[in-house]
Symmetry: C2
Subunit: 128 residues, 2 copies
DNA sequence: ATGCATTTAATGCCATTGCATGAGTTTTAG
DNA sequence: CTAAAACTCATGCAATGGCATTAAATGCAT
């Protein structure tokens, strides 16, 4: 169809993604010791406000199952979440956010919002 | 400002980026033996239709200088580009696309366009 | 002209990611 | 009830990317 629109949109996505990822990595990392993926996982759990199974998280975060497994492992090592074998299906694992995890997320959230605002506001939908 | 818009846009970008990257990796890789970064570099050179310095490419591709250096190295190993020390500034390196590189790019271009069209057409600007 | 700071690209090192696989559990078919 | 198939998550491995550093070349100031 409109090939030009498609390609322009793709470049817009590429540019914003790179810029935002880079900034998030820097800001979240320096200020809160979190990577973008770690923050995203915490954020999903807080958003749902309940325990989530790995598989549920997998649907929400744009990571492979293996990558997610490792992110959760890192979060657990940092005491921000805990992993518990699921009661009714012992193949599954539920991820619970800890108080420390909630605190860290709450601290990091304004940083993330600030970064994203910086990047996505005052920009035309398809910036040149 | 409109926090909701910012976050929604970010999720849109994340989703499209993940989907497109994944599909490009698969399709370009399987059909043409190219990674997305490799294709992107070839594409930029073809688009400009001239030799480009590494640094110029760096501005156009969303890669660090070191990553770009390695992409070009891979492309050179595959005989798709050649690297020549710049005449007027012998620190610099110009990257020239080879005939084989042009051919490969021409073959891969429709694949890339097809993937992107699939993902970016018939979707509302902010898909659910 | 000489020495020092700067620029440019390549490389060492490490972190993160995806694919393929593995171990354990559940479900299904017979 | 048993065996095979499917599912869920973790891990080995290789690829890719970024940061910091290096080597070489250039520019600039004295």
């Amino acid at each position: 169809m409109d090939e030009r629109f498609v390609v322009d949109t793709w470049h817009y996505v590429l540019g914003k993604h790179a810029k935002a990822m880079c900034a998030l990595e820097r800001e979240l990392g320096d200020r809160h010791g979190l990577g973008p993926s770690e923050f995203e996982v915490l954020d999903r759990i807080v958003h749902h406000d309940r325990k989530l199974r790995i598989q549920e998280l997998c649907d929400e975060v744009h990571l492979s199952q293996s990558a997610l497994s490792r992110v959760v492992a890192r979060l657990e090592k940092a005491s921000l979440v805990s992993r518990v074998v699921c009661d009714d299906d012992r193949r599954g694992v539920v991820v619970c956010i800890t108080d420390e995890g909630r605190t860290r997320h709450a601290e990091a959230l304004p940083t993330q919002r600030a970064v994203l605002s910086q990047i996505f506001t005052d920009t035309p939908a398809l910036a040149p």
